[in-house]
């Protein structure tokens, strides 16, 4: 097909442009917005594994992000542990926490699961606020060190004249590509197929010999672990994290990115994340209408295009090879 050919030939463009971007612009603001967009894309991709691929509708994704961030920050600040170790550890802790949450919730479905995870989020936020010793209380944790790429430390990218922000940009970019590759891999794998089948019809999937309870737990842990990774990178980029980042409105924002973009479609989800992070930046002057506009977008989308802007397509990859 012509379109597939075209896609194959142009696909390498996107990562190249993203990598070379700091060469073209010195504008710190543009870089900042793109960094934030990449970060949101990471989170949306991780949530897509849970919601889009597996049909586990949950409202606590921001909590796992915060847990990853707090873990990495805590270890770096108190024990001087390198963020290169701290961030993966944060991801593991987030995945571990998801296992704990799975214990009581693995039998719940749909709106019951949403209410349970919503409550979990509320509890988590109270804990993050009140465990001052670990988290720094309401003010949150600040002074988290930067994640530095060893061979880039001196002056950042000398080419552009800009310094440290560029390096941070590359780190977020690295995290984004890692998350993307991970999500892609899961989607095309035998596990991904089983997860989609489970989302379509859980009982039948069981009758096909799949232990859906285990599948749910694994999918949830993968998504939450990747959210924890994004959280760690967030902490390293913005040097601080507060309990507010774990709140419900963030979880809903992430969910909205997945829904607006296209539940289950990796590319759609990224576009959803781009839209919902860039649009608020463009209309920054209308800040006070933000929540209103946001609600309108969600409702409009749910009414007129519930499958999202870019609905899920049929999977045509087997063992990493495109068939058909």
């Amino acid at each position: 097909m012509l379109r597939a050919e075209f896609k194959k030939k142009t696909l390498w463009l996107a990562p190249t442009i993203l990598f070379l971007l700091p060469l073209f612009t010195n504008n710190g603001y543009v870089i900042f917005v793109i960094t934030a967009t990449l970060f949101y894309s990471m989170v949306a991709l991780s949530l897509n594994i849970v919601v889009g691929l597996s049909g586990i509708w949950q409202l606590a994704h921001a909590v796992f992000l915060a847990v990853g961030a707090y873990t990495a920050g805590f270890l770096a600040k108190n024990y001087g542990l390198s963020l290169w170790i701290g961030i993966p550890l944060g991801a593991l802790v987030a995945a571990g926490l998801s296992l704990v949450l799975s214990l009581p919730t693995v039998r719940l479905r749909d709106e019951y699961l949403m209410i349970a995870t919503l409550n979990f989020g509320v509890i988590a936020q109270i804990l993050l606020t009140n465990l001052d010793g670990f988290t720094g209380g309401t003010a949150g944790m600040s002074g988290i060190p930067s994640l530095t790429i060893p061979w880039l430390t001196a002056d950042g990218l000398v080419l552009t004249g800009a310094v440290r922000p560029d390096q941070q940009y590359f780190i977020v970019l690295l995290g984004f590509f890692f998350t993307f590759a991970f999500a892609w891999r899961v989607q095309c794998s035998p596990m991904g197929r089983a997860l989609r089948a489970m989302r379509e019809d859980e009982l039948v999937t069981q009758s096909m010999g799949q232990d859906t309870r285990t599948l749910r737990v694994i999918a949830f842990a993968i998504g939450c672990g990747l959210a924890g990774l994004a959280g760690g990178i967030f902490a390293a980029r913005f040097h601080s994290i507060s309990p507010a980042s774990a709140n419900l409105s963030n979880s809903v924002l992430f969910l909205a990115m997945v829904i607006v973009g296209g539940v289950g479609n990796i590319w759609g989800v990224i576009i959803g994340a781009v839209l919902l992070s860039v649009i608020p930046e463009i209309f920054r002057d209308l800040e006070r209408f933000r929540l209103f506009a946001f609600g309108m977008i969600l409702v409009t989308c749910m009414v007129f295009r519930p499958q999202g802007l870019f609905p899920e397509r049929l999977q045509t990859f087997v063992a990493g090879r495109q068939i058909n």
Binding site: R185, V186, C188, S189, P190, M191, R193, A194, R196, A197, E200, D201, L203, V204, T205, Q206, S207, M208, G209, Q210, D211, T212, I218, I222, E312, L314, Q315, T316, V318, A319, G320, I323, N324
Partner: protein
């Protein structure tokens, strides 16, 4: 000991006794039909056999697994070699035909979780093998031209075929078909009958629920009749046809006078 033997299965839903000590045996390479009026507990019986319901009483002896299936969860029953279709077709409608079949083939892949998530090592080979087997199966069922369409786009009759193909992909030792001809036109019914006969030639053991006597007479080696939650008759097709209890169950007490 027979290949498959369910004994004294009881299943209650609140005050309603759906199964009152139902029994059934199946021998290897046999096609057994389970018939009975509406509400006689056929589908409930199927659900008990496949682990979807846990029977309140009774044992289900399964020779290939040398175990009692009663109370085992559905995925374990499936792994022990029993696959089924559903009365109201339940395909993965938003997945391609190929994927519908491949999910069936994933049952005995022997992969660990890591290999399943990342498609590494053994998983690459097993996926390729599964793809080939799935395409073969689609060929056998005359669906290969549409392998990359969503299952939901198929006509009702073809969806029925696909569901049987999906169950076969798991390479079951016993295949349970829940009303494979329900809702089909006469032409499609002939296709299904032909298919079932083809499967018998390939040595599959099949238990099927069916309403239409005409179909049952054509394809079964043996017929078991349920009424009001228990077995009322069993035998060769022409024997069952003349059985008084069967006639009264279907036609009412005076119907055969």
């Amino acid at each position: 000991m027979s290949f498959f033997e369910a004994k004294g299965i009881v299943k209650n839903f609140g005050g309603v006794q759906a199964l009152k000590g139902a029994s059934l045996t199946i021998n290897e390479d046999e096609i057994v039909s389970l018939i009975g009026p509406n509400g006689s507990g056929k589908t409930t019986f199927f659900n008990c056999l496949t682990g979807i319901y846990t029977p309140d009483e009774g044992d289900i002896y399964w020779a290939p697994g040398n175990c009692n299936l009663a109370g085992k969860p559905p995925h374990q029953v499936a792994r022990l070699g029993i696959a089924r279709t559903f009365q109201n077709i339940r395909l993965f409608t938003r997945m391609s035909l190929l994927e519908n079949i491949m999910i069936g083939g994933q049952i005995h892949d022997g992969l660990n979780t890591f290999q399943k998530i990342f498609t590494t090592g053994k998983a690459i080979l097993s996926e390729k093998k599964r793809e080939i087997e799935a395409l073969d199966l689609l060929q056998l069922f005359g669906l290969s031209a549409r392998a990359f369409e969503p299952a939901g786009a198929l006509s009702y009759g073809l969806q029925r075929r696909l569901e049987i193909a999906r169950a076969l992909a798991a390479k079951p030792k016993l295949l349970l078909l829940d009303e494979p001809c329900a809702g089909l036109n006469s032409h499609e019914i002939d296709d299904i009958i032909e298919l079932v006969l083809k499967l018998r030639k390939r040595g599959h053991t099949i238990l099927l629920i069916e309403h239409s006597m005409q179909i049952v007479m054509q394809i079964s080696d043996r017929i078991v009749v349920f009424d009001a939650g228990s077995k009322i008759a069993e035998g060769l097709p022409h024997e069952v046809q003349k059985n008084n209890r069967v006639l009264s169950a279907y036609l009412g007490d005076e119907g055969h006078a």
